[in-house]
Symmetry: C2
Subunit: 303 residues, 2 copies
Amino acid sequence: MKYIGVDIGGTNIKMGLVDLDGSDPVIMARSSFPFDHMSCADLCKAIKEHSEIMAADAGLRIDDISGIGLSVPGSIDREGENILHSYNMGYHNVPIRAELQKLFPGKKISMANDANAAAFAELYAGSLKGCRNALLLTIGTGLGSGLILDGKVFNGGQGRGCELGHMTFKVGGIQCNCGQSGCMDVYLSATRIARDGRELLGEEYADAKAVLDLSRSGDPTAKMIMDSYLDDLSTAIAALCATFDPERIALGGGFSAAGDALYVPLNKLVAQKNFHRIAYDIVPARFLNDAGVLGAAYHVHLT
Amino acid sequence: MKYIGVDIGGTNIKMGLVDLDGSDPVIMARSSFPFDHMSCADLCKAIKEHSEIMAADAGLRIDDISGIGLSVPGSIDREGENILHSYNMGYHNVPIRAELQKLFPGKKISMANDANAAAFAELYAGSLKGCRNALLLTIGTGLGSGLILDGKVFNGGQGRGCELGHMTFKVGGIQCNCGQSGCMDVYLSATRIARDGRELLGEEYADAKAVLDLSRSGDPTAKMIMDSYLDDLSTAIAALCATFDPERIALGGGFSAAGDALYVPLNKLVAQKNFHRIAYDIVPARFLNDAGVLGAAYHVHLT
């Protein structure tokens, strides 16, 4: 079956026409457009137009598409009808599903939080395939989380989402966007590395990748920033292992491609620090830029 | 059906003969004996003797008892055969189930971690009855946790237990018995109040109840200790709400009976601090001293 996956970001919308019939998902066509404080009606219209373009590119008609899935950077109500709060989109209580349904009459439409969508992609076709209990952490502007419990993506006991990034990591610590302070988000996101880079290395290093590259070239300050980050990241992952005891932990976001320089020390530190004193399996996520599109497609397929 | 519930503590073993046929569990007979570094064989023998005494007290024979459940202060292997580590008991890799089975041939025998056993009791007959997703925190020497997910007590993704008390709450904080530092256990247990009491009020206040009572009498130092504790407890519960979004949170342990003086400010603070900015339902656990005995009985009944 073929689906449209829509990955909504704060500044850009990425779309894919995804074939889920094989053992591996195939993105048959792609499209994207900028998102600049669009109204919900305009956004839905653009999604429709780009769906038609992609269908044509793939030699298909809209009728060949079984559904449309959205990956949303924010919270969604239990019924999957409204975007409750997306600070990135500037949407609050927006009934986007019904709006989109008008343009795609009769088609299945679903929404998932972006970290949950990424977890769907990793669970069904990526690094967490075959796991019953696993964890995806996406390290980007913030720290996103997708928690897989008993073979399903957990969306909070009452359906409000699972925001591991907003667990307190350091009481009385740095202020978080959520209003609290000391959240994991503040200490474990790529933004933390950029913040340290700016402060200790200057404005040109206000970027996680730049700090990582500099640390690899042997710069002691950059190395110190990365070591300190890894120390905190391993402490947090060890803490999550005390609670979830997961079969595997995948790291998503651009930073997750950092290779052995990240995973070798991280696995070692987590094994030393976790309550159960065992080795956990920490691996890169499979899907980087495509996690949202694929996860949205899997979500609508499975919903 | 009638079961023997055995609540193993570090210094005392409490037992009950529990009738689970009615809508509410009934403890038909009770017994207890001191636990002083007993061997596994001696412990099992004592459990057998006290089971016979309780059966006689209740006018029953051992044949009328359907099974024996143990609540263990430590970790248990996935198969429910061995106590892996119980620092309180001084037991490591002890095959207690098989040993007990020899004395109760043909009977069902099960083991649960003590916090999980308490969660079973609250879930099936107590404050968490009817919940699909809920949380029990037992505030005592340490911070125990029983997490209910999708109607079941969660025991870790790989069966090693769910140790919320060993999530990091304050990076670089006070050393915890587990080997890490800054765990929730160190900041949210009754021991934390006793520690602050000893330090700020003197040796006679090295006890959570004494500090609570003094704070109620208006002592400003004791009040400050309690306020600071409630501030941390509410921050931690709010953090857990960001992740689990539970329908209800029950507090167990002796401290949980503190009444409105605890629950009114705690509910208010958690509502202010949690990511979703909603009121959560924080209530006292129903079973205090009987949680282990009842939970062990429910566990063997349901296993």
